[in-house]
Symmetry: C2
Subunit: 229 residues, 2 copies
Amino acid sequence: MTPDFSAAERAALYRAIALRRDVRAEFSGDPVPDEVLERILDAAHHAPSVGLSQPWRFIVVRSLETRRSVHDAFRRANAEAATDYDAQTASQYEALRLQGILDAPVGICVTCDDDPQRGNGLGRRTMPETARYSTVCAIQNLWLAARVEGLGVGWVSIVEPDELRTLLEIPKDVAVVAYLCVGYVTHFAPVADLERDRWETRAPLTDVVDYERYGGRAVTVSSAINEKA
Amino acid sequence: MTPDFSAAERAALYRAIALRRDVRAEFSGDPVPDEVLERILDAAHHAPSVGLSQPWRFIVVRSLETRRSVHDAFRRANAEAATDYDAQTASQYEALRLQGILDAPVGICVTCDDDPQRGNGLGRRTMPETARYSTVCAIQNLWLAARVEGLGVGWVSIVEPDELRTLLEIPKDVAVVAYLCVGYVTHFAPVADLERDRWETRAPLTDVVDYERYGGRAVTVSSAINEKA
């Protein structure tokens, strides 16, 4: 097949992937137009899904009152999380900026029907968790679309899912997958916040790629590949 | 912030998202150069991860012998899956092409450490499943990068994870998340296979977007939004 993406188009995708950030501190507060929000939601909705089940839902939250309640839930969960660490690490943890719930004008709570009618069960007998995975693929699509629109996205996982469930009236049989803060930013950070703040370092690619079997190294396997080619 | 992606760059991302397919039947068998494989793996490795934990690993499988064993595992799981349906649906199911394990020259098994040391637990006290979600974000990055490289990706979920675990020597405490078939294609299908084959239809975006609460409709909430603006 003749390549149907130009070098410039390929570079645009890699650039979006490289410059995407988990945004917490840089939200400008500028309003997000409905048509831009619709574009990033539509990008999410074009994710792959097991059996074409499209098990996701997106709850758009603009209400300041609701976002205040989400922020309260974050604060409770965050205070508890800090108790997991020894004194020195706890103080480093507490200095981290971990959410922009009130600064970002839009919250998006992403939910998943783990046993969707759509798709007629295809692909979920052996791996039922693929409905959830489909929903996460949708989130990553949204995240990248937001990046090229100049919108930051921050995924808040320091919150009790059941508190979100109550606040947003999510039924018991629907999974709460994510709460995303979405908004324009003053700038995108040059590196991940947790890298800048020396919480964690980025692993080299070679650390996470194996060949032929778990832990299999490239040098051994390259020759094996050539033998079979 | 001045937009840092041009209209053409934005369009390239949306195009990749729209034209990405779950490829089963169209693999050409052409070899995938190491440097192209490395680019899509590097795209995966640039996914967001909870606490910057980077809990993913990618096992690149080129061995035909191993792919034959994966294919056997698929056949067993697929035969069992067909028994879930009544006669008419089973016959429709059996006509579907659901994998390209032998046709695609590269398999990538994606695994996840659900309790990674990296990241020091950040963000996983309330939502431990976010390590797994990070790994799925990496898969979606890889899928989009593959699309702009002209590479098809097909996610095989009709296989017992424990069979992959045995075949690829994956430790018990590491989760088997996905088996992906990766290779160049003769063409990308104009619509999803399952849509073309009338297995399932695509839901309109309005079906999956709520406002302010689960099931909340836009028309009611728009006025609420304006009141708060």
